[in-house]
């Protein structure tokens, strides 16, 4: 995430204010770590309840209003009642996004009767090209029933902000572009609280084993 490195600030601080600056630096560094997700996955790996009941549960997620692949408005409240696996990506992405969605599909197929307790959610970071129609065609190619969400640029920005997802357009020759984006799978509990996360390195078996423990 493009945040000012706190170290420069610390070095330039006057001697008297160094403790305060160290504190700010520490908090800023903490925020950067929060944004990565990998740290969370590691820190919560051995906790059977994940982040539930910790301060982290409210650090990821938040209100959003988007539209699904059938044109229906969906808010964060609609996700409650089931576990959600949330991944931000875009349909022009040839590599990381299909891999993540396929991993989720495989993981869900290994959940047996618990499969219905989990809802995979794909939120685009490219609302300019990803319409409800293109999202619908895209997600039906995967085995799992995926809720695909898009919206206006502002709506997508709000959702991404809540989940601390970074994304930026990268122009390419010929007017085309790719999207740089955080590639993290978030696990939210049926109350909409952040519980755990997976990275691109998580194998489908790891995801399903973790979900089985979390769902209980």
């Amino acid at each position: 995430m493009p945040r000012t490195p706190p170290t420069a600030q610390t070095r330039n601080s006057p001697p008297g204010g160094s403790r305060r600056f160290l504190l700010i630096a520490g908090v800023l560094a903490g925020l950067v770590i929060l944004g990565t997700g990998a740290f969370l996955a590691l820190a919560l790996r051995d906790n059977p309840r994940g982040a539930a009941g910790t301060a982290l549960a409210s650090a990821i997620g938040g209100p959003f209003q988007l539209v699904d692949q059938n044109g229906k408005t969906v808010t964060d409240a609609d996700l409650k009642g089931k576990w959600s696996l949330i991944y931000f990506g875009y349909t022009h992405c040839p590599d990381a996004c299909p891999t993540a969605l396929n991993d989720i599909s495989i993981a869900l197929s290994e959940l047996g009767p618990k499969r219905d307790a989990v809802r995979p959610v794909f939120i685009t970071v490219d609302p300019e090209r990803d319409t409800p129609e293109s999202l619908k065609a895209y997600v039906t190619s995967f085995d799992a029933p995926i809720l695909a969400l898009t919206g206006t640029a502002e709506q997508v920005a709000q959702a991404a902000k809540g989940y601390r997802v970074y994304y930026a357009k990268h122009p390419e020759a010929g007017g085309d572009y790719s999207m740089d984006h955080s590639s993290v799978i978030y696990v939210m509990d049926p109350e909409g609280r952040f519980t755990a996360s997976f990275t691109h390195e998580s194998a489908p078996e790891q995801i399903s084993e973790r979900l089985k423990k979390l769902i209980g």
């Binding site: 990565t36 590599d95 396929n102 740089d180 955080s182």
Partner: protein, 152 residues
């Protein structure tokens, strides 16, 4: 690990080393992931082995308007995709393009890639010149070639 297992592993390693000494540049295991829905972009992957140093500089296919060499990298948790000018092939060392790394980006597919289909792909090397291979389409989000791709 027992000595037997180690010896077996050593045999396999030696056998592989012996097999991996082609007399000219070879492109194997050409595959691509199926593209979900009407996705306009796809990615193809190959394994390249050359007895002498070479460089993959461009690609083309009748399946798409454009084929570019790209690399995907993770910076922290952020995925970035960038075009690259070429891929170096060191002598005698197999270079495998795979998901999460370098790939041949197929931009503006004429039609979606569906599992089980195949299409030709031409790779241009600085020294060895062009090589055309048949790309087998695997499941969307697959992480490697299936048995059909491995036969080519």
């Amino acid at each position: 690990m027992s000595i037997k297992v180690l010896a077996f592993a050593a045999c396999i390693t030696v056998a592989n080393a012996a097999l991996a000494q082609p007399t000219e540049l070879e492109v194997d295991n050409a595959w691509a992931g199926a593209t979900p829905g009407q996705a306009e972009n796809g990615a193809a992957y190959v394994t390249i082995t050359s007895p002498s140093a070479d460089r993959l500089v461009s690609a083309s296919t009748p399946a798409a308007k454009k084929a570019e060499l790209h690399t995907m990298s993770m910076q922290g948790m952020v995925m970035k995709m960038r075009p690259v000018s070429g891929v170096d092939i060191p002598p005698g060392q197999a270079v495998t393009l795979k998901p999460g790394g370098e790939h041949i980006m197929l931009m503006g597919l004429n039609q979606p890639l569906r599992e089980g289909q195949s299409f030709p792909l031409t790779l241009n090397f600085e020294k060895a010149g062009p090589r055309t291979v048949t790309v087998t389409v695997e499941k969307a989000g697959a992480k490697g070639p299936g048995p059909a791709a491995a036969q080519h």
